[in-house]
Symmetry: C2
Subunit: 143 residues, 2 copies
DNA sequence: AAATCATTCACCCGAAAGGATGATTTGAAG
DNA sequence: CTTCAAATCATCCTTTCGGGTGAATGATTT
């Protein structure tokens, strides 16, 4: 970042120097001001693009790979018609729990969980829980 | 994209016009050429940054929301002792394929896949494939 | 009141997954 | 040449999943 600004400053200084030199030596009377401005514009546009790239390029954070704030895509959630309870099952499913474990955690019977799961598979267009989880992540329903 | 270029052109024209107007009206004798160049430079740098953003902004691909750069954590990969073949199974597993499908895709028998899977579960300290996938993601072994 | 939907639970059955164990082959390392 | 890990496949057995179907209850909407 600091290096980027430094390089930018240097290139800027160099460009100014170059332009001034050219101006006083050869071009002052030969080139119109419009062309002059044009050259400067193009140069600094390129510079700006390059800078923009450097600045906005995310640095890789090693400890928190895909951390960052996860926001549930409510729109798709309603579009798919997934209910609250079904979503709870989906979450626990994604954590790798078995249906029985999910049932225990939600204080319902195994059959109930299986029903919710089946509905989820339909709504997420998948036949297996691994697929359903994959799909839910794609749809930003779960982190 | 075309819109971006159009807007860029318009802003550029406007800037040139503005500068020329200012030049002929007030500033020609009062501001030195350096300051003049500086103003142009800053303007076009900002323009360049904005353009760079527009151009390089990946369009949202609906199926791959949190795409972005994924780099396999090789260190952990060797630490866990997961072999090439096992990793291949893991990848396909994460895609939601069944063991049979994985077997077909890798041209091996179902039993082989199951063996690899079992080894994976041990190395990833999990009993279920959903758990294994979850764990692998945590360890940055898969995206 | 009737229709709709979410939630709950049940039963059955076949497919898929997982655990345990053993065996063969092959390529790399010592 | 031996040793070892990786990769391959097998068998047996248990558990978990998933599909299909049906049904009761309660809340909300029409």
């Amino acid at each position: 970042m600091k290096r980027t600004i430094l390089i930018y400053s240097l290139v800027l200084a160099l460009a100014v120097f170059l332009l001034k030199t050219l101006e006083y030596r050869f071009l002052f009377r030969q080139l119109s001001a419009e062309i002059y401005i044009g050259i400067i514009g193009v140069l600094f546009t390129i510079l700006g693009i390059w800078m923009g790239q450097k600045i906005t390029r995310k640095k890789k954070v090693f400890v928190t790979p895909q951390a960052g704030e996860f926001k549930v895509n409510e729109k798709i959630l309603t579009e798919t018609g997934i209910s609250k309870r079904e979503y709870e099952v989906l979450e626990l499913m994604a954590k790798g729990l078995t249906n029985q474990e999910i049932a225990d955690k939600l204080f319902v019977s195994l059959n109930t969980v299986k029903t919710h799961a089946s509905n989820l598979f339909i709504k997420l267009q998948s036949n297996r829980r691994t697929q359903a989880i994959q799909r839910a992540k794609e749809l930003q329903l779960i982190p």
